[in-house]
Symmetry: C2
Subunit: 275 residues, 2 copies
């Protein structure tokens, strides 16, 4: 099986490392020649090629580029892709991505989103164990070829991930809640402290580090996510803002009962989500 | 040195464990007889006594109770405390605590706040290594006896902590930013997802787990903190709310430049705080 990777960054590179055993050859393309060359030097990909050449030769093509770029890249590669090849992606949103992917590749496109990542970036950060034990959401539609879905599911199971399937719209609602909202909140929390950063230097505990870890994620991919999934994110930001105001007003009023009720609700909700 | 512990929970118990080598005997009191008995059964304290007896016998008395209770407990113990004994606390706010502590114990009271904790509770969760490498803020005032300050600093250095000194008012501003605001945000984030918890069950990534970890902290201590440090917290919640609205409006307007600027500011601020 020839694996083609368009985008040799942290997630694409990690998947290539995890798929090393399953692939006879791994081809890589990246619009940044430096990233592609480092991925080759690190042995993550065997060969660098133009993205059209990667598409023409791969049995399984992975689009690991920012979400807003996926429909464009897919459209550009549609004329080149090898007949019978399966195409997937690793983007954090799925409605617009699957629309673009299916427009380009029809039934052979399968949307995918590994619920794993880190605040690191680039092929240097690639980690073949990144997906072990993590969830990967695949978003087949009525149009998806079952054999293509099975191929992509096999790729992820081989990387140690637990595959979950849902439709693209439900995916985007779910990740808006468990991923996009937490990222927005962590970014806003850090930005809100900008004026005091010097006074706070070195005076943090583990709570600050953990709560804001995802705010260290490179901005580039998140700009796309905040734009692409904005409808769901805006609705959640409003609900979140209302919750902050409840806590604020209860503190201002000295209302211990309301504070306690919101904190208990928060703890119980977290437990229910963690399952 | 006889160490007296009023409050045998997670933080008090962890400090007792860390101080085991420095103390010849550790006495414990807790308003919950079950907690005190479990602390004794676990060997965290050598003996349980009424809090007045603990105060009468201890060379170093640690008040490890919720912050709003500290002034009351301090006033109740003032008639009993052994002359020459040093008294300290482990509360998350310091202005009202130090006021209450100095009213009861004068120059022999030293406010303290370990910047360490976990979402666990009770003597079962006590961990003698909890403070290793962590910061402990001590808040001496013009009134504080330097020898008392040195005794408390030694206690914490013996527990492996790095001691930082600042006045109570600066402490409360600093921890409002790096600890109280993150807790409020994490609680609000979880509470905002209450209506969707069943749909989200099991569908989380590491970002959700880390961002909300501190929302698993038992509510009881945080109600006190949100009430006691409300002036600083309310101001920060307002700044934070404004930042959330900036991100919200930029997403709604599709303004990638503004989103990028806020995300870059957030990342840079986090780096400056981590130092």
């Amino acid at each position: 099986m020839i694996l083609g990777l368009v985008g040799c960054g942290h997630i694409g590179g990690s998947l290539a490392k995890a798929a090393r055993g399953a692939a006879t050859r791994i081809l890589g393309a990246d619009r940044d020649p430096g990233s592609a060359e480092r991925a080759r030097a690190l042995g993550i990909v065997d060969e660098i090629a133009a993205q059209e050449d990667v598409a023409a030769r791969a049995d399984l093509l992975v689009l690991a580029v920012p979400v807003l770029a996926i429909p464009t890249v897919a459209a550009a590669l549609a004329p080149s892709v090898r007949p019978g090849a399966v195409v997937t992606d690793v983007g954090s949103t799925k409605v617009s991505v699957v629309r673009g992917g299916e427009a380009a590749f029809g039934a052979r496109f399968v949307g995918g989103h590994p619920m794993a990542g880190s605040e690191r970036a680039g092929p240097e950060a690639a980690d073949g164990r990144l997906f072990a034990g993590k969830r990967v959401i695949l978003t087949p539609t009525a149009r998806t070829d079952p054999a293509a879905l099975a191929t992509v599911a096999e790729l992820w199971r081989g990387a140690g991930a637990q595959v979950v399937e849902m439709d693209p719209a439900r995916h985007d609602r779910v990740v808006a809640a468990v991923s996009h909202l937490p990222h927005a909140v962590a970014y806003a929390l850090c930005a809100a402290l900008a004026d005091q950063a010097d006074e706070l230097r070195g005076l943090y505990g583990g709570g600050f580090v953990d709560t804001t870890r995802i705010a260290a994620t490179p901005a580039s991919m998140w700009i796309d996510v905040f734009l692409d999934n904005r409808v769901a994110i805006l609705e959640l930001l409003d609900t979140f803002g209302a919750e902050v105001r409840v806590l604020r007003e209860a503190s201002a009023a000295g209302d211990a009962d309301v504070i306690e009720a919101r904190l208990q609700l928060a703890r119980a909700t977290r437990q229910r989500i963690l399952g």
